[in-house]
Symmetry: C2
Subunit: 283 residues, 2 copies
Amino acid sequence: MQYQRPFSTFGQLVRWKAAGFDFVELLVPETDEIDLSQLRSALTDAGLFAILTARINLERNLASDSSEVRQSGRDYLNYCLDVADALNVTTVSGPLYGSPLVFAGQAPHPVPESRRQARVDWCVEGLKQVAETAAKAGIRLSVEPLNRFETDLLNTTRQGVELMKLVDMSNVGLTLDTFHMNMEDDDLGEAIRLAGPYLVHFQANENHRGYLGTGHIDWTDIVRALDSAAYWGTITLEPFRRTDERIGTPFAQWKPPLDDEQAQLAASCALIKNLIDLNGGRQ
Amino acid sequence: MQYQRPFSTFGQLVRWKAAGFDFVELLVPETDEIDLSQLRSALTDAGLFAILTARINLERNLASDSSEVRQSGRDYLNYCLDVADALNVTTVSGPLYGSPLVFAGQAPHPVPESRRQARVDWCVEGLKQVAETAAKAGIRLSVEPLNRFETDLLNTTRQGVELMKLVDMSNVGLTLDTFHMNMEDDDLGEAIRLAGPYLVHFQANENHRGYLGTGHIDWTDIVRALDSAAYWGTITLEPFRRTDERIGTPFAQWKPPLDDEQAQLAASCALIKNLIDLNGGRQ
């Protein structure tokens, strides 16, 4: 039986605030998916701000072989800037470069050197163009490396830093997500310190995407590394592994809650805030 | 420039033995891919034994909706038994249940409850049938959970143990791989202890699939858990993340070496053997 949320989307914002959160990370709504002015008012009423995550796909792909699709990728990111402006949001995050794999039904395959270099060049060119428009609106782009199964373009924090040097714009930075880092980086603390100067947004996710504190990520180590990197920006939780873990239950997708998750979300939020209180200001 | 291996496939076996390995894990060769009697002799000459890993796909799928494909899945696993017999191999390992995702170009999607249960039933039925044949040949089947992007059927060690109880045959056990466990299990040591009674094969892979010892898996903890579980069976290394880590280089695939890897393989092998020497026999 599906858990029926007793709260509307906007009512949920008030509950998240009550659970201890200061802001929400929202997927960029598609055109006409939600009334942006109502959402903006609801955020204000709840005492929350927001950041946005872009929904790229094969047709919105800065790194596509097709110039038309690359243009669609830029058009989409410009649309994200319009939505950000309408919601008074200053950060648009996500795998902005495109090149999705598993969620687009794409199997990994070898990429010849000429195409590898071309994809990097297209990605840098596209990010620069969109970032120029974003700068005029006071918006930052934050580029998130994903694990090897979700993209073949940007997997490690080191690659993310390399991309930052190629793009070289002050309003383009990095989003790091411990779920992906856990699969791709040698050492999570070392990676955070490396990315420090470019870090714009941080996603604190367990290795298995359950509630923060229920897996094996060393949160004390993560918080100390963020402190070493002098990062005290936004930190999001994105838990979506639900309690149904029977054989044959797909884990690799966002699912609505089966139960009221307020207590677990509040505990996860408090856990990371307490570690920050206890470990911040060491550097 | 591609590194040219100065050794034949069979010559490579001798080098692996020299690097400290006692056995090799081989993908089940397709029909006529390799001369099995020559391979068997080469293994004997090198002083190595082998275990086999099955190559399942959408057409060799015990959990398919199609009864014909399920039959192809059983036929393929029976073929694997024939190859095992020809090579004097007693363990056939891998995601024997089928249901591949990313490497088959399948996006994750919701599975309704009726289909979830049916897939589990088909998988149990197929494994039982093949295991009966395997028992007569003195061969064990070892079922490997994979991460959420590679399959939606069996992801956690706990699910693996549940499957073992459903199959309930003495020649069917579990393969655990720390690469997948690192993504899906709450605690790797706890998972190993839980799986202990069913554990047939173990794959010691770094979180990023580089050489063992270059990532963040706690190998001391793993070896102590294997000891607690009274497991002293086969342990394989499967490193395939190569030194080329530039942006846009796909990580999610097996690739031939770019350099001679003998020194790194020997060091990884020695590392795990030394930890076993230093931590074994504690229970």
